[in-house]
Symmetry: C2
Amino acid sequence: MTPSQDLAPLQVTDSPEEKFREYLEIRGEKLTEPRRVLVNHIFNTHKHFDADELVADLRESGRRVSRSTVYRTLRLMVDAGLLRELRLTNRSAYEHSYGYPSHDHMHCTQCGAIVEFRNEEIRKLRELIGQEFGFRPDNHRFVITGQCSDCLKARGRRRKLDQI
Amino acid sequence: MTPSQDLAPLQVTDSPEEKFREYLEIRGEKLTEPRRVLVNHIFNTHKHFDADELVADLRESGRRVSRSTVYRTLRLMVDAGLLRELRLTNRSAYEHSYGYPSHDHMHCTQCGAIVEFRNEEIRKLRELIGQEFGFRPDNHRFVITGQCSDCLKARGRRRKLDQI
DNA sequence: TTGTGTGCAAAAGTTTTGCAGTTTT
DNA sequence: AAAACTGCAAAACTTTTGCACACAA
């Protein structure tokens, strides 16, 4: 998994499991055992992950859920507003959306690290631009790509060595 | 293809083909016939496209280039700074980068339209945030998702009909 | 002539789906 | 009991790669 720097969680009244149950109930769908396992596992640690890592993680911890169910449930959780989907590479990555402040990302193109940050200006900008074009924004993704501080340091070191 | 709203092109001295040749020459690589066909076809019209559409377009116009070569050349053109890769869905979309001002996108989640816009604040914000985290930005992607004006109008109409 | 590139077909990688059997309400 | 869900295997998609032949400098 790529390293990730975290923000402080928000206070929420419902647990993710409750929130998921509500979403499913409204649509006449069911909070089954595999779905409970998934929602709890996912919200147990705060990190970015993809479908494959999730399957592997679960398998390791003995609570096996099939790949199909993982994919189906991830989609549900995105629709339910519990998760957000990030498309930084060919495979989709996911992160907590529920109980976590809205934020954006810096993506290190060298080591793959994902660093989160919060900035209020972006949301204002998004509304402003939407108005200008008669577009109704419901979300946004802002990803800054470049090199993270660790890689910059490492590169500095390498440069010095090169000079010897 | 998804509709797209365009900005005015920039003035550039080299043609995309020239620019591509330069890039390839530096690396001891060659501007072959299929690569010329691709670079010219792509810069002939300004629109967002994906690998599949490109293959189909070319086939239709009689200038057939194999799928492998299309994929390989797209990667080269991105590296050469001619194209930018967008990951809005599972398949990568591409747009002109060379000879076209830097800009960002609104993506309509209903009809898939891509609307381009230019806003200077975003770049400033990106530098500011980079500084704050010791991150060296080299690029960014800012995508506002929501509903475009056309879909909002259509929805308005549908709502009225629903009330009858 | 010596790489480098192309096309094909096959593989690899990610995600979706049909279906038979199972679980949930 | 009815409806929804799961796991499996197979399929669907997108993208990459090995290889024999072709081409460009």
